[in-house]
């Protein structure tokens, strides 16, 4: 199929349309506005539902309602907006209905800025909302990867009756790349045995997240956990680069991951046997795969555009087997490959000890650098 140049946000929106999204509800926020704007003309023209909500809480609760009908439904937002959706997300998780969330991270905390960041990894993966639940989170590193994941996102949401989040940052949302879009799928409206549609010729369906009887709520929690454990077992996604003979391994997701690819190539050109492991499903996280890499890695370099949020997951997998080095840029700063190359060289010079605290050492380096300036 022919390749076309697409802007990330618009490509994601069109991919959702082709994946059969029936309803979109959202609220403007940079850097994801193009998703909403694209939907505002595309969906009506297809006779599907588009509403610009009055706020993110309204948007996520419109999604909640639509999700209860069993339709393929989505919203998109960015950091502050995602924070405002946390109650709704928790209700959706607690009601066990499917939805897709496109989360375009920006610099924070607070109003911050609109530059690319990965500062919301913990929020989306570790529990932004209240209660025990785990959204499925996929972090593409390119526009092609993002559009390829879009149909999967809707299928995962329905398969696990869960939130499926496509996590990117402003740079992927704003950049253009040549891509091939997925085929246009017909909209299929199934009659789910849980969805509300008016109780015609069947017993009525009631969807709720309130369970005043605690033993029942415990069962529900276990049921949600059970589905999550299935997702953990079946839905691990990642991509490997130059790992066959790699003695040093960079781990980074999304934008940091693709920048690392450039760094790996540059370092290889310098004769360093380094490879890249790029998690795509960051929740569930590929712990096993990282653990296995411990056998070949002299040490790891974890790169993120935050203070080391995914680092904790890598540490959980590595468990002091191999030294880990960390490098992060903050507040919307997009690192250059050269910075990573430098880190790789430093790592090779001194791989450190498994007990080292990588975040601590990184902080020291950042401060030292700050003083130089």
């Amino acid at each position: 199929m022919a390749r076309e140049m697409w802007k990330g946000n618009e490509a994601i929106a069109e991919a959702a349309v082709r994946a059969g999204v029936e309803a979109y509800f959202g609220y403007p926020i940079t850097p994801q506005n193009e998703v909403l704007e694209y939907m505002s003309h595309r969906l009506p023209e297809l006779g599907r539902a588009f509403v610009q909500a009055e706020s993110e809480p309204a948007a996520i609760n419109m999604v909640y309602g639509a999700a209860c009908t069993g339709a393929r439904v989505m919203t998109s937002s960015s950091s502050p907006g995602i924070s405002l959706m946390q109650e709704g997300l928790s209700y959706i998780a607690g009601t066990e209905v499917p939805m897709v969330l496109v989360n375009v991270m920006r610099g924070g905390p607070g109003l911050g800025n609109i530059a690319p960041s990965q500062g919301d990894y913990n929020q989306i993966c570790k529990g932004g909302g209240h209660g025990d639940y785990h959204p499925i989170v996929l972090a593409p590193a390119s526009i092609q990867e993002a559009v390829d994941l879009m149909p999967a996102a809707f299928e995962l949401a329905h398969k696990y009756l869960n939130i499926c989040c496509i996590l990117i940052d402003g740079s992927i949302g704003q950049m253009m790349e040549p891509i091939t879009l997925p085929e246009m799928q017909p909209v299929v409206r199934k009659e789910y045995d849980w969805a509300v549609s008016g109780a015609k010729g069947r017993k009525r369906h009631v969807l709720s997240s309130i369970y005043l009887d605690v033993p029942t709520e415990e069962k529900v929690n276990l049921r949600i956990l059970g589905r999550w454990r299935e997702a953990q077992a079946n839905e691990i996604r990642f991509k490997e680069y130059y790992l066959d003979d790699a003695e040093y391994i960079i781990i980074g997701f999304g934008t940091a991951g693709r920048i690392a690819l450039s760094a790996v190539r540059a370092a290889r050109a310098l004769g360093i046997k380094v490879g890249l492991f790029r998690p795509i499903s960051i929740n569930p996280y590929p712990y096993k795969q990282v653990e296995e890499l411990c056998q070949q890695a002299k040490s790891f370099l974890v790169v993120e555009m935050n203070t080391g949020q995914m680092l904790k997951d890598v540490q959980a997998a590595v468990r002091n087997r191999v030294p880990i080095r960390f490098y992060g840029r903050l507040g919307g700063v997009m690192p250059f490959p050269d910075e990573f190359v430098h880190e790789i060289q430093e790592m090779v010079k001194n791989p450190g000890k498994p007990e080292d605290d990588p975040a601590d050492l990184w902080y020291q380096r950042m401060m030292a650098r700050g003083e130089e300036r």
Partner: protein, 185 residues
């Protein structure tokens, strides 16, 4: 094989469009390509820059610290980005908007009056295309024909009539650059 091009100017100088033309051309000849913008905080009249990366394999970072090819359309951009050009790289300066010389001698530079040349070619809004032609004359990552084809293929219908003029501007830019390039020492 990977080449990076950085374009900088005021909003309204067509810097973003020029970058996109390069991207389309690269895509059409089967290359991998990324185009990424960066705007200043201002809503209007602020700075507008973009980076284009053209490669044969999956592209990593869409940004680079020292691009081998740089186009600056105004003085602030020259001041800010002259130091960034990769040693031995190419710097195209729109001399219509810049009244100073390029300082670096380790790079090949062209001071080209894009606005005037564009006007001669028929429309002063094509200064960006002139600069693009100039760059490609010295950085043969794409041929002028590739650009022509891309313009033909992707220019919105309502602008199609401007096609000949654009091609003219492209060529003039290239010619000027060949003649007036100040080679790296």
């Amino acid at each position: 094989m990977q080449t990076e091009i950085f374009l900088a100017g005021f909003g309204g100088q067509g810097v973003m469009f020029a970058g996109q033309v390069l991207s389309y051309a690269a895509m059409d000849i089967g290359k991998e390509v990324t185009w990424i913008p960066s705007y200043g905080p201002e809503m209007r009249g602020g700075t507008a820059n973009c980076t284009v990366v053209i490669a044969d394999e999956e592209i990593g970072s869409p940004l680079v610290q020292d691009p081998p090819g740089v186009i600056v359309m105004n003085l602030p951009s020259l001041d800010k980005y002259e130091p960034a050009v990769k040693p031995g790289g190419i710097l195209i300066v729109n001399s219509s908007m810049v009244d100073r010389e390029v300082k670096r001698t380790d790079i090949t530079s062209v001071a080209i009056p894009c606005n005037e040349i564009a006007e001669e070619a028929g429309d002063k809004r094509m200064a960006n295309i002139v600069a693009t032609g100039a760059l490609l004359a010295l950085l043969p990552v794409l041929t002028l024909e590739d650009i022509e084809a891309a313009l033909k293929a992707h220019m919105p219908g309502r602008h199609k009539h401007l096609l000949p003029k654009n091609i003219e501007a492209l060529k003039r830019g290239a010619e000027y650059a060949k003649k007036n390039a100040r080679k790296a020492k």
